[in-house]
Assembly symmetry: C2
Homo-oligomer: 408 residues x 2
């Protein structure tokens, strides 16, 4: 991880172990660094798994491997490599993933398809198989580590370790949901990658876990952006070890399912926000809400158009209430909008409505709001009931320094 910690960093929360998940980290040595860079989670038999992966048309072989294994719904292990994404490496990349899965499967006696693999780091360099195998061998006998160590070991150029947890009551049992995530720090000009892993001791049918994860993803990871550049390797996996003794959840009709889904949403949203708070060069956390759009989908696209606009993001960095740039970003989104119905708030202050500036709006509260670390922009399109909220960070000199001033 980097030396310069994001000003938006938050302390790592206290998170309990998840029974049924034994996690170790070791230094495989994917880069010339003195830190752990290989994480191995061993999972009890009966662990269910669900996952979401990048929409990229150029996915890493790890993403393809996970996609193929997910429909089986069960997992016995997870390997995370940091320092090399193994993406765009042709047959050699595929061979590396197969070798990793085979090594773990032989070590613990399971099917290779029970082993999930994720890698993050530089693109275009095949993952060295002997390095991975030696790391796995060491990790198979290494002691259990805490979640903060896991979050650190899966990081590349993140500036702080990121984790979140929540609890849910299912019948007479309280289950834990913990998650760790990496992403959005990119001090060396490597490919940004978001990897997130959620572990719970609850017993959950894998199809239902997938259903809940899809829903949580739609409101969390799919609603954040740092620079609009989608990675080749984004992966979020959820593992349910079924050690809590709850009556297994298989649909929303089951008691406790709603509570569990809410807690899963909570963890995913916390993790997603942490990625934004570690966004490259970020000095402000920005929430963009769009309401009154023709549909939720349309609202989401407009919100993303605002959140990805370099002009909006630099204005926020400059603490400048330049709402005209929000108008611009609504206009360019390509979604239904009518200029003369548009209304815009910064914080709690209405700055524009009915297609023009609010005459004599108070500038002091707007200026004060923009000086804070968390900025909120609300846009009412005035057409319908569609709404969406997304989160991003500002665009600063830090982003340029991280991505242009350093050479790969």
């Amino acid at each position: 991880m980097s030396d310069a910690v994001s000003p938006l960093a938050t302390p790592f929360p206290a998170m309990p172990p998840v029974t049924g998940a034994h996690i170790a980290t070791v230094r495989a040595g994917y880069k010339a660094w003195e830190r752990h860079d290989l994480t191995l989670a061993l999972l009890d038999e009966g662990t269910a798994v669900a996952g979401v992966t990048t929409q990229s048309k150029c996915p890493s072989p790890e993403v393809e491997w996970c996609r193929a294994a997910l429909p089986l719904g069960r997992a016995r292990a997870l390997v995370v490599n940091a320092g090399n994404s193994n993406a765009f490496t042709g047959n050699r990349g595929r061979a590396a993933v197969e070798a990793i899965a085979a090594r773990v499967a032989a070590g613990i006696g399971c099917q290779p398809s029970d082993v999930f693999v994720a890698s993050t780091g530089v693109i275009g360099v095949p993952l060295p198989i002997p390095t991975a195998e030696a790391g796995i061998d060491a990790a198979l006998t290494a002691p259990q580590v805490g979640w903060e160590e896991v979050a650190a070991a899966i990081s590349t150029t993140d500036t702080f370790p990121k984790g979140a947890m929540a609890r849910a009551v299912i019948g007479d049992r309280t289950v834990n949901i913990v998650g760790v995530i990496k992403g959005s720090g990119m001090i060396a000009p490597d490919m940004a990658t978001m990897l997130g892993f959620v572990f719970t001791d609850a017993a959950i049918d894998p199809l239902f876990l997938q259903q809940m994860l899809n829903a949580a993803n739609g409101r969390s990871f799919s609603c954040i952006t740092v620079d609009g550049d989608t990675s080749t390797s984004d992966t979020v996996l959820a593992f349910a070890t079924a050690t809590a003794g709850n009556a297994p959840l298989s649909s929303f009709d089951d008691a406790g399912a709603d509570a569990f889904a809410a807690a899963l949403n909570d963890v995913c949203l916390q993790l997603a926000h942490l990625v934004v708070k570690d966004g490259e060069g970020a000095s402000k956390f920005i929430e963009v809400s769009v309401e009154g759009a023709e549909s939720d989908r349309s609202a989401h696209r407009i919100a993303m158009s605002i959140a990805n606009s370099p002009l909006v993001k630099t204005a926020i960095a400059g603490e400048d209430a330049n709402w005209g740039r929000v108008v611009m970003a609504v206009g360019k989104a390509g979604e239904p909008a009518e200029r003369d119905r548009l209304a815009i708030r910064f914080g709690d202050t209405q700055v524009a409505s009915g297609g023009l500036a609010v005459e004599g709006y108070e500038e002091a509260p707007v200026a004060a709001h923009l000086k804070s670390q968390e900025v909120r922009i609300v846009v009412d399109i005035g057409l319908g009931e569609g709404r969406a909220t997304v989160w991003t960070c500002d665009l600063t000199h830090g982003y340029i320094s991280i991505n242009a001033d350093y050479r790969s």
Copy 2:
């Protein structure tokens, strides 16, 4: 215009007057600056006009005015205001445009719909009508100025005046096509606006002029991006004064039509490139070509995904041959692509093909190419015959300084 001139600036070319177009500039005083900021072009009776305007859903009232007048196909005057875009100003903005057209129409004896209006500058502030009217009155009796003065008067935060010209032979006549353009400099955090004006002495049917302008626009202005942020006010208008004495052009069957269209394309492409070369903070001019896509449209979208990627643009700024970021941008474009058929060239050097790095490609010519001011990226998707080329600039600290460090 700004004091710090873009390192990519080129000298203003020698451009002849266009007979039938009398152009004057005056200081209306839209901002507290000592420079001409209102341009008035008076056009001979019989002048044909064609135009293309922003796709924004929040267009300026000037854009709406031009759109309404364009189908009539004739023009007698053009007014360009610099320093205030008059966008997102409700009824007061519409009233300002109507007042401007009425003032000019009364002054020269024409219909208000013969008067075209364009404005550029800060958004959300209604254009002051008395200021505009006084400026028009002064301009109506002001002497003709040269094209460089026109290019300067329509500028806002551009760092150099931008013009281009070409000639075409139609039968026994040689006609001139000259154009001026502003855009992409934004030293104060105002809304970026691209305004371009092309004048020719050729006689051309307005519908045919529109057809040729649409085609030229598709290969020039629609193929450039600085930051992906579409303005509310983008407008390109072409005026044909019909003073050259050529047999009027009304279709591609007419002698000289192909030559004229080629010359018009040439002027539009030169102007579009000049805008990129004055892109905010630009230090390099980047050409992105995509071939082998499923269709030309698909190729264009992939090329724009690459050209708008902040990670690609910062890599070029850092003179870093980080082709993995090009893979990422292809992958996120949402267009048909197959990772294992992808090939990438930087300059003349193949760096990736068949879904992985070219083993042992020569790094020296790639490094040398990236050190030059003009960088060329070619991506072969390997699926079909679709191709497109777009142009952009790199993303540097200059962009952040221009848009975040200064307050509006």
